[in-house]
Amino acid sequence: MLTLPAELGTNPLFWPGVTLAAYAIGAGIQHRLRGLALANPVLIAILLVGALLKATGTPYAAYFAGAQPIHLLLSPATVALAVPLVAALPLLRRSLFGVLLAMVVGAGLSVASGLLLVRVLGGSPSLALSMAPKGVTTPIAMALAQTLGGVPSVAASLAIAGGILVAVTARPILALCRVRDWRAHGLAAGTAGSGVGAAHAVRLHQTAGAFAGLAVGLNGLVTAVLIGPITRLCGF
């Protein structure tokens, strides 16, 4: 096991610096591979930082406390999704019905299929109830899992893992399904992959980013309303 010099581990800039470096390495790798979706910078950074924590025996809680300066910027960034959203308002007005329909179906399917697949594959009810809200942004997913009787921290991890999955697979899979509309791409990435999915869409195209931001917000609302009835309907 590696030991970190004490003055390094307690330096307030150390963990933010490590996080930034890991993400920069991930972005560099993706750039080298000409934007290969699988080389997602978030995924690479999580693996690199995770490996460093294991190697140095640093508890996650200590890392998370140290990386707060970066984590705190997540809130203003979420609010900032309003800017591309407002730019896309004329487009939204023209596709409002399709957007609302897609949101309700996508959110409902995410909850119902999560619950039923866990049951069919032999998982525990606790896992199923933590899986149900994985499509919404992490703070809402945690609150909903808590209400349903799932485990909030597992729900948070599943929400982020689902987002990474969306970031890695959205382009090839949507291309396979002949989805050519950036509004469809963005709304789907935000509905299925919440924040991490939206972060992926923002980098692809401005319109995709706008609809992904809208989806993150609306999906929280729609899922919070639908999750109780769907869970009961599925027999939990």
Partner: protein, 126 residues
């Protein structure tokens, strides 16, 4: 730039106030997102260059901001070991089902309406 950052943080703080006062089921930043969108739609002059720059910078690197929370995944690796098949099967199946269904509904609805120039077909996915 300064005012733009203040606007982002202000929208979130007002969102936090509304959330606790009205017991809304949404987190404060998401309420802030809708508040700022409404404010910008009503007062287009607030869509300054500074706001475009600050929000563009934050959003372009939004993935970075998920890394501290995402590293928490490693704390749950023991759970993956215990329930590997239901966990991975449901996560992958359910996420992709939701992704494809949402995209296809917007796509089919959009075909009746308008077409966008420069859709994903302009950059074939690998």
């Amino acid at each position: 730039m300064l005012n733009a950052f203040l606007l982002l943080i202000g929208a979130q703080l007002v969102g936090a106030g509304l959330q606790s006062a009205m017991h809304l089921p949404l987190p404060a930043p998401v309420i802030g997102l809708f508040l700022l969108a409404m404010a910008l739609a009503i007062r287009p002059v607030w869509r300054s260059r500074g706001l475009e720059q600050v929000s563009g910078g934050l959003l372009h690197h939004m993935g970075l901001l998920f890394v501290p929370a995402g590293v928490g995944l490693i704390d749950h690796l023991d759970l993956v070991g215990a329930e590997t098949l239901p966990l991975l099967g449901a996560l992958v199946g359910s996420t992709l089902l939701s992704l494809v269904a949402t995209a296809l509904i917007v796509e089919w609805h959009g075909r009746i309406g308008i077409r966008l120039p420069g859709g994903p077909h302009a950059h074939p996915a690998r």
